[in-house]
């Protein structure tokens, strides 16, 4: 088996008296596509927020593989985690709405590029050159996802499916090692979901990154995931391949309730 790029050990978070995530130990491997499912309120998004740094855990730890050593990223703020190669999309779309599509991608490239403030102030020829190069890079990324024709549209004016797509492109522009997708198919029609399925598979192959996916659309999850974790009441209920999960009695019970 390939090495793990992301691990959690007994990760827990409490909000007042509620333990939203309870001693969760999971791992994701290199170039693996991991699905995270569970009924509403199971703690999936909370777990995502713990992994990406929006919340700090009450106990336990999050570890990522940075080159050849394992780094504990428990205390790092989200932007530092992003710089270490963690990218994410959001359940409720969070684009920079007043900016164009290509600018959204350019903003995502800021953290990885050296800033050129002096050149920008003086508008030297090298500034224009660098700007053109960055734009070129952003456009070529958009081209992979068939979005060059809308590059200069305001992000706010894109149709819903395209906005979701742009969020993924923007996350990829940070050149991540791990991509977290939080319900990417939410609000999509079957055609859009089908296109998304293709897209996620394409990203995994083309960018060679680890993808962790939260999704309620079972067709999508089962089609793309190599391994699944099932969460219930903040705990890992089961793990396995999509087939194993589909036949797991505990999972069926969690989703459909007790028989009889």
């Amino acid at each position: 088996m390939t090495k793990a790029v992301l691990k959690t050990r007994e990760l827990s978070v409490k909000f007042g008296g509620v333990t939203a995530v309870n001693k969760v130990t999971i791992e994701a491997h290199e170039n693996e596509l991991v699905g995270l499912i569970g009924p509403n309120g199971a703690g999936k998004t909370t777990l995502f927020n713990l992994l990406t740094g929006v919340y700090k855990p009450t106990s336990g730890e999050v570890v990522i593989d940075d080159g050849d050593q394992l780094v504990n990223i428990n205390q790092l703020p989200p932007y530092k985690r992003a710089q270490l190669g963690i990218a994410r999309t959001f359940q409720n779309i969070r684009l920079f709405k007043s900016r164009t599509v290509v600018e959204n991608v350019l903003i995502a490239m800021t953290a990885k590029n050296r800033p050129y403030v002096v050149q920008a102030m003086l508008r030297t020829p090298s500034f224009y050159k660098k700007e053109a190069q960055n734009r070129e890079k952003a456009l070529s990324l958009l081209e992979i996802f068939g979005m060059t024709n809308v590059a200069d549209e305001l992000a706010n004016n894109l149709p819903y499916g395209q906005q979701r797509r742009l969020e993924i492109v923007r996350a990829l522009a940070t050149t991540p090692k791990i991509l977290f997708l939080d319900e990417p198919a939410a609000g999509m029609n079957p055609q859009e979901t089908q296109a998304l399925t293709e897209l996620i598979k394409q990203i995994q192959v083309q960018f060679k990154i680890t993808i962790v996916l939260i999704e309620h659309d079972m067709n999508l999850v089962m089609a793309v995931s190599e391994r699944l974790y099932v969460l219930e009441y903040g705990k890992v209920l089961a793990t396995g391949t999509p087939k194993e999960i589909q036949n797991n009695p505990a999972v069926i019970k969690a989703y459909l309730g007790e028989e009889g």
């Binding site: 992003a82 800021t110 224009y128």
Partner: protein, 324 residues
């Protein structure tokens, strides 16, 4: 730099030059008297402060009510240095000292307070501004509530005009660079910006510090032009005066700020014949604009010479602002 950029930079330069010549000619023929000249200088000073504030409020989206405090730092730096070194050299040094001091204060204040949001940040910056004013009122060196008089004058309209153009160029060039894109990203969606590896506090602080530096320069110019400073010049109302320019012009539009600074300055001149009715008319104008253009005169858009003169379409670099 390709041809389009040169062409477009030249057209802005031409426009600026035309305004300079216009002011010269109007002075020569006596259309602009001493009072008119004073108005032009005060417009320029307000403009520099307002452009700085628009960077903070409009671009980085942080609602600051403390601009007067930073103006006070610049004004007192100039007042103190120029009274002891009454040369043009001393004046230039004093502007730098004021700007650096103000930047440092903004840095110290900004790092903790810029984590606050909305109303909380507004109250915190207001508090900082008041603290600066009260310190100035109580320090011996700043001569308490009476302030400092007989400051040598080194400011004429050419100096203010030049610095006005310079501050606009600095702000516009910053906004249209990767740094500016990051600042705007923080305004548009802080959580998303942070998830992309952008250190949101850093970019908010950059905008805040640069805003404070411009405020200090405006304060320094004002001190040397009016030739006196006192703590009463930098109360909450001064922050509001600058804020009105930004809000009326359009939060996030530099050309809107320029337009409003000039328009309000001219309105002031027109209204001086109305005596005490002046403040009423001023208020009515503000209310009318806010009723019909709540997003400000220009909203977030910029006045673009490129679009007017040679619209090439599809070019991502929009027009640059001007001074007047």
């Amino acid at each position: 730099m390709d041809k389009a950029h040169i062409k477009y930079t030249l057209s802005w330069a031409t426009l600026t030059l035309m305004i300079i010549i216009l002011i010269f000619v109007m002075t020569m023929f006596g259309i602009i008297g001493p009072y008119g000249m004073t108005t032009i200088v005060l417009i320029g000073i307000n403009l520099i402060a307002a452009v700085g504030l628009n960077l903070v409020i409009g671009m980085s989206g942080q609602f600051s009510l403390g601009h007067a405090g930073f103006m006070a730092i610049g004004a007192y730096a100039t007042a103190l240095i120029v009274t002891s070194v009454p040369t043009i050299f001393g004046f230039i040094i004093s502007l730098f000292v004021g700007a650096i001091l103000s930047g440092i204060v903004a840095l110290i204040v900004g790092i903790p307070t810029l984590r606050l949001r909305g109303d909380y940040l507004a109250i915190a910056t207001l508090g900082v501004s008041e603290i600066i004013r009260i310190l100035i009122m109580n320090f011996k060196i700043t001569r308490g509530p009476a302030g400092i008089f007989a400051i040598p004058a080194f400011v004429n309209w050419q100096v203010v005009f030049g610095l006005g153009v310079l501050s606009i160029i600095i702000v516009v060039n910053l906004v249209r660079s990767p740094t500016g894109r990051a600042i705007i990203a923080v305004r548009d969606n802080e959580i998303a910006a942070e998830s992309l590896g952008i250190n949101t506090t850093k970019y908010k602080v950059i905008a805040f510090v640069l805003g404070a530096i411009l405020a200090a320069i405006a304060g320094g110019l004002r001190a040397s032009f009016i030739q006196s400073v006192s703590p009463q010049d930098f109360t909450f109302m001064q922050s509001i005066t600058i804020l009105i320019i930004v809000v009326l012009g359009g939060i996030g539009s530099i050309s809107g700020t320029v337009l409003t600074a000039v328009a309000l300055g001219i309105l002031d001149v027109v209204l001086q014949n109305f005596g005490s009715l002046r403040m009423v008319v001023y208020a009515v104008v503000l209310i009318i604009v806010m009723l019909f253009r709540p997003q400000g005169l220009l909203g977030r858009s910029e006045f673009s010479l490129k679009k007017m003169l040679f619209d090439s379409g599809g070019d991502h670099d929009k027009g640059r602002s001007k001074d007047a």
